[in-house]
């Protein structure tokens, strides 16, 4: 089984520091593989453990994304491709899906594409489905479980309050939920090998697409403003008295604020 996994490098928000105005300090922020994408990687590795085959990991971004691709190789992926070109810069979901889709088409034969459900720095959950649309692949999103039998895949899909069981022919595209699995830690020997492997670099000229569709130029969405919402500071009020009296006071407060 040959699987392609798309990953994104994102800032590690657990290490985020804020300045005195409440703004994010981006300088020196470490980068990590987007957490959902790690579940996508683990899903592919688990399928490879059972069915064999190869895993190709691809990512679009600046040259420093190489570190995340090496980590993916260390986890057990076989081939890594970095899509990097200044012309890819500023891409929205559509342009990103277009670029990744072209790369997947160029890779050629595959049984499955797996992405994370969404990236922690954008939270759109659109890129995976848009790649499926671009490549005309069946889409199994929000996967909680993946099982392959013959040329079919069975996926449990997280629908919030309920779970659906989907069946799709291969090849297809799956987006991985965090509940799908527990990503493995890259074993030390494979990490060492990962740093000896070559990472393929593909630019716009390799992808054979329409230059007007890449990056900011090809993005239908425009980012108008990024801001930190004002923090609302509340105060704690203790309602004195026995339980019945306190409850009465609480109801009065609710009425006062039009909650009831």
């Amino acid at each position: 089984m040959n699987i392609i996994v798309c990953i994104k490098q994102v800032p590690d928000v657990t290490e985020v520091k804020w300045d005195e105005n409440g703004s994010l300090i981006r300088t020196g922020l470490p980068s990590i593989i987007n957490p959902n994408d790690k579940h996508a990687l683990e899903a592919a590795l688990a399928l490879k453990d059972v069915h064999g085959g190869t895993i190709t990991v691809i990512s679009m971004g600046p040259p420093q994304v190489e570190e995340s691709l090496r980590e993916a190789l260390g986890m057990g992926c076989d081939r890594a491709i970095l899509l990097t070109d200044r012309k890819f810069g500023g891409a929205d979901c559509w342009a990103t899906a277009y670029t990744l889709g072209l790369a997947i088409r160029k890779i050629g034969s595959f049984d499955m594409v797996i992405t994370g459900v969404e990236a922690m720095d954008g939270n759109t959950a659109q890129v995976g489905p848009e790649i499926a649309d671009f490549l005309k692949l069946p889409l199994c999103s929000y996967a909680l479980d993946i099982r392959c039998e013959g040329d079919k895949v069975f996926v449990l899909q997280n629908m919030g309050d309920m779970v659906r069981e989907l069946e799709a022919p291969l090849p297809c595209l799956i987006t991985a939920e965090k509940e799908l699995n527990e990503p493995r830690v890259a074993p030390m020997d494979m990490l060492m090998e990962a740093y000896a492997k070559e990472i393929e670099i593909w630019g716009m000229d390799v992808l054979d697409g329409d230059p007007a569709n890449f990056g900011l130029k090809g993005s239908p969405t425009r980012l108008r403003k990024v801001f930190s919402p004002k923090r609302i500071k509340g105060k704690v009020e203790i309602l004195e008295g026995d339980p019945a009296e306190s409850a009465r006071k609480l109801v009065e407060k609710f009425k006062e604020h039009n909650f009831i």
């Binding site: 570190e67 980590e71 030390m188 990490l191």
Partner: protein, 381 residues
Amino acid sequence: MDFNLSPFEKMVQKTAKDFCEKEVTKIDAYMAEHKDYPPDLLQRFAKARLLGMDVPKEFGGIGSTNFNLILFAEELGKTGSTCMLPFFMNNSVAETICHWGTEEVKKKFVPPMCDGSAWASMAFTEPGTGSDPKALTMVAEPDGDDFILNGTKRFISMANKPGYGIFFAKDLSMQGAKTDTTAFIVDKFSPGITCSGHYELMGLDGADTCDIFFKDVRVPKANILGEQGKGFKILLRWIAGERIQQAAALVGGAQGALEEAARYSKERVVSGFPLGFMQGFTWMLAEMKTKVDASRLMVYNAILLQDQKKPFEVPSAELKVFVVPMVQEVCRMAVQIHGSYGYSKEYKVEKLFRNAMHGGIVASSLEINKTIAGMAYLAGR
């Protein structure tokens, strides 16, 4: 502080952090409940290929460096988890056998220590001695193709776990020789071996340190490690490496305590100011950070010497002289900054403080190391 680590070394640090978050938290939860290591502890390390890090691939290791090992040791030390002991032991004993053993010995004993099927131990200490080979009372008497070992070893980590240990005994066939300590590789489940219960230690919660008793235990002559009568040299080399690993873990523990103290001192408000911005506490944090950073430099220096196959015994002793008081002081200050909370088991600094106390005692005492470092300095002048 930037030590100019390579991208790969930075990835090792990140992977170590990942391993601690995913595996060590589970291991600690098990140990808190069972007061012992999880039975599959070594398999967890082996799965991440963290055993036999400095062992060639042909013997089941991964052929990495000791430097990468101590990057892991730092992260493990930061957690305060006792699982660092088997991690160190399996790595260092496998490396020691690789250094001194014959091809046959290496092929037999090293792979099980790397794949996690054997728990390694190192046993020199006895009720009456911790560092004097002349005072050893465990004896080894030749008998045909075997030696028969009798005696008691004290405070031995993982002594009651299945696997192999290097045991040091007075070799009765070497009587009259200048040195008569021989190192034997012993299957810890051999007939005639029994163990005491665990010692309740001040720190290193859940450690299975115990006494091990030998009554007419047969050990094949083929299991002798290195030269007969030259066992003490093996111990000294092993312990010099172990001291560096231990120092790395202690630096990790001090770093952990520093980070906890820094976080608390920013959260805790006194008279309208965060605690950390009151000069007395700012100065404490400054001292703590400076000492931790300086110690880390010393650790990296010593481990690079070992990786470059240069003499590292004296720098490793000097390391202990500096790092042990450092970690004890830094952890004490972290407890002090936390006030009553720091004295409570609810807070991590309490555990790190207790762990720090083992630094001056385990893997050779602080005082012995001062003697080694001082004598070496005088001899070189």
